[in-house]
Subunit: 340 residues, 6 copies
């Protein structure tokens, strides 16, 4: 079973420790992006994964590609060309001070690429599952076109599509997102959506915007998930993370899955958060891993949420955990003792 | 509207991460001091500020001055001369282990300076507000004299004085402090005092010394604040922070303001503390910023406390936050989600 | 009063900050080991301590020895020879992700040493107390022999033995451990045991394996402690730490001491943990320090537990605290304010 | 006497130590750019300087501006707007391996700016000297227009223009550069040119491209300098650095100045190079400082070259040296002993 | 064309900057080993390479494998098992102080492996060239056996063998080395030998041991190379690096190749050395790359030596350079200017 | 044979890498001082050494003392008291830019100490050699007194005195130095003097101040050494280092010894300097080590100079080398190859 993911990878520049950008003289460099993160998670869990994107033909592009290769993702079909690698600056918050992201991704080599550069016939060779998120079509009109071309290829060749709606308000407006994503949804087999994604990309309200009480809003999330299944009968599963975020460090997480008109839930996990990013990607990868290994619905959502929660304990975009570690968290709600 | 602050700036040498001085091979260097911190906060919030002090004529003095300039404080009137820059070593505690400060400030160029070196006529040109804290007169007899000269200038020229009583037990005894600060209080327009400051500098008891229950002692704080107003009718406002400090990381904070014989309070904030220093300076700057912009009493104390609480999330003496960030904390008691 | 401790010291290589081994390019190097940690704690508290072991005759061996000397431990009797220094890799967990230790200690110069290399007559000169833990006999058959030779020397010369059972499942099986440690116990004066140590080394069950509710199991701990005293009448005291571990960062700790058939307890401490290792060694050193200074039973267990809890706030194997700091924690359950 | 410099400032991301981009996980962040470097050098030497540019209205823009303020450059006239800050990656070479720069400056807020946004009447208030380099017009057609508008203003108001031809082959072709810079030269009072700048921007050959023998080509440099004076009679001085670059670390430097048809030379300096960038900016600033202080021609070129050579010993774009340090190098060709 | 290399990969722990092991608290971690270095160099130059070894089944083993994958080496045939990863400590010298290596490689999982674990039929599938060095048989008797089995496979299947004699005096004596390597030489097609390798492994003297005058001994090197060809007629080429090492930083390098009874030499390169290790591996990879691309003899030795010299400018075992960079050094004996 | 050294130890704060104080945010912390450096060198070479001084009773004082203990120096007689530890800031130069030291040592606990605090009867118990440098009497009048008291004790008890004249122009004038040191010289057995020390402390000219040609001035050095012996017949040996310092990195070193009216010289060593401080202390320790082990005059000066030259390759005040390493440098003028 082979998975293909399609998206943009960026250089991430993070201030060390707790420093603010105004005071720092150093950045920690790593490379990530939603679909690349999913690909790497899947590879670390032992799956066969291919990543498709366009990278600049310079050392930063090579460094990004090497990150994928290092963790076992197949990159042989990557496009390369003149241009820049998208960048983002990451300033971790603390307590009541929010985490801060500065996007510097405009004009990237992928944003400048044409849809036609992607030869889906070749790219989809041997692929069994296709994953992308709402970030990819948010990049440019051409990438929207590329997404639709890929979706049509999948539909024609019975390749199930996993799509994380992943709304990014700094990339497009809700209106633009809806005009595209409602079209995308007609192809999607498994839909992942969190918080404001429901409304911003599909116009279906699940969440009132109060991050400190997401879990309390479980019923509206359920209604929204049912609404998706009703509106897009091609969708076989809808999965979501619900959160109560109390501060940058403290939050509660749970997972919710709708499959065959039945809901499956995880327990609520109390988490001390190291870095609150890319947890949705870890969730998507966990879900897809479970699907590839035919987990039942309850195990599926439990594994996905456990993967997601573990990501919060790790620095960087990548969920550098093993299947054993995810399973340990899934099976126990306290930390296991140090084994010596 | 222009503010002048007067005090000492020091080189701060902090062990990295969680290291103790006994084990460290590195120090993080930054420059701070109560009145410099206030000046920088005010400048970062867009105000016109001048800082007056005496700095050594060496690279450390230049580095301190450059810190002020970097964040927009006017330093053109700084005195310079042969001597040393005061230094302090900062070893952050953890959980039940207290934070540790080693002062190495004796013999600094400011401590060695004469009161007469400060030409207040020139220094106060265009100044609308004067800020200093109880640390400045604690430095030396000459600095006490300088403070009184400055206060008299202000009284004569109707420049309101904001004074943070800021008791430092390692610099002078309570008895010495009282003999000076009760005199200073006759000139003060806005008085800031926390915890043991009331008693140590004015002989007015507000706080029983139990840091874990400062907020529970709100009524004795109120009595002390009223006592100040009664004793020093020139004082128009008294402001204070009340805290329940449970561990180095966990505490609760609230603000209290007495104005026109009425008390104004903020809600209680739960804070996960990064660095528990200079929060009082952030509070003073927030208060002064609100006064400069004619905030009403409730907004004044809320803004000041929010500024103070945000400081706790930042490493270093300086409250590197924007007005928007302070306002966000003031308006919500949960952290806002990461905006992407 | 002079203490001798006997064990192995290793190079500890820790990933910086929160990094996982898979992503790190740096290790923080320090040197530690249960009995060396105890020796250093005792020296830091002002006691006369000697450490005996065998170290490799290379720069890593010198660096380990220098660590002991730096903090005042006498190392003049250390054996040296060709071979390697045991090493271990330390990857700190976070929240629900467990801390991870990779032992690379096989083939160390101490493991390769012969029991006969230790000349106990000379080594025990002027020694008043002997301390070792269950790790030492777990190293090799020869070290088991060495331990027994040392124990017999002590018995013959009335030197009290303090033994921390310290079970290490990665070094030997419970069956092996029991076959040795039940023999060792016939010589022991003061016995320290935590959690699974009771059962794994002596076959006496105290703890059901659920780390999140150790304190709730106080009664079974008490029974186990009494069982030890019953079975080994030579044992004068049994001491233990009970813990509720909620996550890598959050836990509750209390101490329990059995002396003269009476139990002594400490209050429960809430701790925000920096590094959850070597706290048992800090406890053992605290206990021994108290014994050396004739503390009464209540003060003994309170001091030992306070030392242990302080260790949790410090990075590295060594409990770099002063007697004043331990006493402050012992006397108050909240952190003292920053003194400036 | 007040100087205005006009150009672009970028975030510079440098790999630490000797690391290559392919292996690094960290970048050292600083902010620089030819004309900003000149402004900061002049301010550090005690001169009154203003910097004009357009910066993004985000934390990176603020950090860049703070760098200027920190070292005393006036930034009150800076334009600000939505957009990105140009970035460049710096990988220091070693021995035979060349230093490597990756420009990521396209689409910067200055490149996107319109010429009309710069109100030269206001900007030039009180300005006595204008400095810019060939990089500014290389940014965009609009910046070319802005340069010409500034030049015309200067011509009309008798403000001397110092221009460093500063050819950047990664920004424009020699043909484009010539079409613009030959026009710019009609306004220039003092012209700085090195190596291939002569030919690439003016079509006047001075240098055969062999970096290891620049000094040996002194006569062709002289001819080129005379050719400039002949072709552009408005030019009062032409200054140039000649180099023999043997490796990344080892080189020889000398300065050459043409003034009133007479040549002035410095001795040849052997330099062990720390960072071979921004030395031309240090040279320009040294020259301009000398002009502002009416140095004679010989002292002018000696001071400028000494400033330039000192820059090679410093990490970062900024020449963080004092006038005393430059003078010491100017007066002696060996290093002075450590003064203690 | 596919290359297989066979050897051991180790964790390398290097003190940062110029620190000695006695003073350091940090190690920089990377992974390398002669044959892995060659494999990575070949992959970075665009060749198809497979690496065979046995790695421990733990995070350190994964980190080593990820290093290979990151740079494009195929690792699918790696053996894995319980055990430890060999380690070495690297303390860079300076000037007259020698660089210092502490091997801690005994008992590694590869040393403990059996020759039979390697199934050469499968391993050599599609392989066109086989590379290993004298380090592999120095590991253990079993690895000697494995080397001979591999050599016989190659002889039977006409796969040319490239062997770097690579004597390691800390691993085996000259006598042991000769007893094995003289046997190995009967299978070798291309032989690489430097300095004392000739004598220590084959008993053929080329070098008198004075590192400061290796180049002056060119004639004895030539005789030794001819002696090899005479004694082992299967050898088609012998290649060697000659060096004058003046200090840790300063040396001169040249290459020498014997092919078809003709000698080919490179010019002498003056190098400022960053890290004087793994340059021989870079040389071997450069040679093999040239052979794979049918370079003529002169270009072969020039390319190999240039690759080797570039390695000296890079930190870590890996020669992270591109073909363009090697070619640039090959074509010019001075560094090219910074291109901007 | 036991050596006592007497002086001041300071905290040394060094900017990392090549950073200037104006740009740094970090200092590397270590502890050193001429006589402490000598003591540590002697201990590292296996000698019995005691260090006497007065240290502050705080964590910085403990850290300084621990440094001595770590490397084996006996500190049991150290005085302790309230006060500060002297500090100095170290900014390493590069090429033509001089290294920069900022002393912040005034008001240290040793400067404030009284001569009477030192009980020489006790301190000198078992001492066979006494070492101090001209820095100790430069600290204060009281320390001058203490030095004279120690000298008289030595004279009375036949303890030879080794004195490094060590002139520090930032601590006292040449006139003050001469008035004290000419008195001290009446007690000295072995005198060490470099460069301007001769003239500044004794009024005997050896050196014309041109650091680039110290070796060329060998004859005037010899005359000065003879003049010392003539004037102070108690002096048995005079030793000196002669240097040609070409840049911060490049210099030539040689040693010169006068013993029994005969001169002994070393060859000239070319050194690439890492850190040009404390080399004189390494020289003194090497000399004293040789004396303790009865080296002949030629070996004495060769060993001392080799120790000194090795120090230049090490970061920090301490000469962390072994006797084997010194001997290797003494026996060969090229670096030995990496042994693996």
């Amino acid at each position: 079973m082979k998975v293909l993911t399609f998206g943009e990878m960026m250089l991430r520049l993070k201030t060390p420790n707790n420093e603010r950008i105004l005071q720092t003289q150093h950045f920690e460099a790593s490379y990530g992006g939603a679909e690349a993160n999913v690909a790497i998670s899947l590879a670390l869990l032992g799956n066969d994964v291919e990543y498709i994107s366009k990278f600049p033909q310079n050392l930063l592009g090579s460094a990004a590609e090497n990150t994928l290769k290092k963790y076992g993702v197949n990159t042989s079909k990557l496009l390369k060309g003149e241009g820049r690698l998208g960048t983002y600056y990451f300033e971790k918050g603390a307590s009541l001070r929010s985490t801060n992201v500065i996007y510097d991704r405009k004009g990237s080599v992928l944003e400048q690429a044409k849809a036609e550069e992607f030869d889906w016939d070749t790219i989809f060779e041997d692929v069994d599952y296709f994953y992308f998120s709402g970030i990819t079509p948010a990049i440019s009109k051409e990438m929207q076109k590329a997404c639709f071309m890929a979706c049509e290829y999948c539909q024609k060749h019975d390749i199930p599509i996993v799509c994380d709606l992943n709304y990014r308000g700094k990339m497009w407006s809700s209106q633009e997102a809806q005009s595209v994503m409602t079209g995308v949804m007609k192809y999607v087999t498994i839909c992942i959506a969190h918080d404001e994604d429901f409304e911003a990309t599909l116009g279906i309200k699940a969440f009132d915007g109060d991050s400190s009480s997401g879990i309390e809003q479980k019923e509206t999330f359920k209604s929204a998930m049912l609404a998706i299944k009703r509106k897009y009968p091609n969708v076989k599963m809808v999965a979501s993370i619900l959160r109560n975020i109390f501060s940058v460090e403290d939050s509660q997480w749970m997972g919710l899955l709708l499959k065959n008109n039945k809901f499956y839930e995880t327990p609520i996990y109390d988490v001390h958060v190291m870095e609150g990013v890319a947890a949705g990607d870890a969730f998507g990868a966990g879900l897809l891993h479970g699907i590839l290994h035919a987990y039942n619905a309850q195990k599926l959502i439990s594994f996905a949420l456990s993967a997601s929660v573990l990501k919060l304990t790790i620095t960087g975009d990548l969920n550098l955990v093993s299947e054993e570690e995810i399973t340990a968290v899934m099976n126990s709600n306290t930390v296991s003792r140090l084994s010596r």
